[in-house]
Amino acid sequence: MNGPSRIHTLRLLVAWAVLSVIGIVIALFIRLPPGDQSRQAGDESSLLQLMLILSVPVFVGVCLFILYAAFVFRQQGKGLVDGPPSYGNFRIQVAWVAVTAVVVFFLAGVGIAGLNGAAQATNFSTSRLATSGTAPVGSSAGHQVQVQVIGQQWYFTYRYADYGGAESLHLVLPVDANIEIHVTSTDILHSFWAYELGIKADANPGVDNIIYVTTMHTGSFTVRCAELCGIWHGNMFDTSGKVVSQDEFATWIAQLQKDNADLKLPPYAPAYFPSPRVKGA
């Protein structure tokens, strides 16, 4: 490496290091979605933050080199001259692929561990699949709540398996609870997406799709449909989802059960195939 090359390399390295550190410090202060309303959402936010921090040096490096080259290596003078032919540099190529591979595989590992942990950390060994009528919330049994999400054109409704299969227009969940969410549909494909809770699952007719969420903080969340499902798909959302305290939830669910007393609902089931499938024809 001769003199001028060394100077350029040194300049680029120093600028890259300084700008990367500044960028990482900024990245540490950025709050990334979906937040911390549930453990799963918190995990997703931390993973996004980690990815942001790791990508800062790469982004800074690429941008810096492009700008540096554009200004410092700009061709001077009037006559246009062909640039030097480019040849491969084996060491740089190997280093580039190796560093990229390490970053990608590391992030893949972190992501897989996060997904795995989301289900494993929640102990549902005592969870009931059938209606039992008992109220585990507030008890010492791990606060399991089983909720069924029913997608239909164009609204999500929710049934609480542990409370006689009571059905609600809005999703209300107790805080500090392990929630088991069973997602299904009565007509076509929908997708249940509770953004602030960091969970999303397809709602397919005849399928019982299970996801888990552990609520951490009270607050409201939005439920959206994330699968194009017809003319009102864009309106298939509800901003009234709530995570409430255990006491508030007990009061609310008692009221819901009272309201539901006169309703003629089918027995709680993992999926529903109600008739009619087709009218008239």
Partner: protein, 250 residues
């Protein structure tokens, strides 16, 4: 210059640009014109179709103004009179002779309603369709309406006219349609006409609900009533102006 780029091996040399001369066909101009005209015609057709579709919008029905208390009905700020039919060409109250889909099930006369904000809206729906049944029996319950009950005149199994106040349908399978405004939490099931009812009769359902702040709220029917379409959710269920629309609260 190139000595600065340490990743390049400095080698002398220059590039020779290959010259490619294509033989032009004598017809190329004419062909180009045909292709361009064809493409333009296609684009115009697609644009026309999309524009026509986007501009097709049902007319707006403004709620009738305030009415004093009548009989056991409370005084109301706004009144909307609707009709639900098994097919548009059999309408009794609000015929729509030039409808492009005369055989479709529909709300009539239109599906966009303008109502005042923060007021009580009373709706009367003349329901002439036969039952289709609900896929989710949850919707057989009236929700979000004043008093929790709707008033209905209907026909029993012997074809005799009956009347009463109900908070739900006896059997979710008897629902013909529902009127639901999700963002207002208003859901009202509409009982299907009994097979024993005399021809040309209708169930008349009346209910009231409160509007809140101004805005555009969508409403829809939750009965899969698009006859002959897959899962009953096609046709009139997927087209503005039949089984869904907007409540414009001003």
């Amino acid at each position: 210059m190139r000595k600065y780029l340490f990743i390049y091996k400095p080698t002398p040399g220059c590039y020779v640009r290959n010259k490619v001369e294509a033989q032009r066909s004598p017809n190329v101009g004419r062909r180009l014109v045909v292709v361009l005209l064809g493409a333009a015609a296609l684009i115009a057709l697609v644009a026309g179709f999309i524009t026509g579709f986007a501009l097709k919008f049902p007319p707006t029905l403004t709620a009738s103004p305030a009415r004093l208390a009548q009989g056991n009905q409370p005084a109301q700020n706004a009144f909307i009179h609707l009709e639900t039919v098994a097919s548009v060409d059999t309408a009794i109250t609000f015929p729509r002779p030039d409808d492009p889909h005369p055989s479709w099930v529909s709300y009539l006369p239109t599906t966009t309603f303008k109502v005042p904000a923060n007021s009580v809206v009373t709706m009367q729906i003349d329901q002439e369709d036969t039952p289709s049944g609900l896929r989710n029996p949850f919707w057989a319950n009236a929700q979000g309406i004043i008093g929790g009950k709707f008033h209905m005149t209907y026909f029993d199994d012997k074809g005799n006219p009956q009347a009463g106040d109900f908070s739900a349908l006896d059997d979710p399978a008897n629902a013909a349609h529902t009127f639901g405004i999700p963002d207002l939490g208003v859901f009202v099931p509409l009982e299907g006409l009994n097979a024993a009812a005399p021809p040309g009769s209708m169930n008349v359902i009346t209910f009231s609900f409160r509007t809140g702040k101004p805005g555009i709220y969508r409403w829809q029917c939750f009965v899969p009533c698009g006859a002959g379409t897959i899962y009953g959710n096609g046709g009139p269920m997927q087209t503005l102006g039949y089984m869904s629309g907007f409540l414009v609260v001003q």
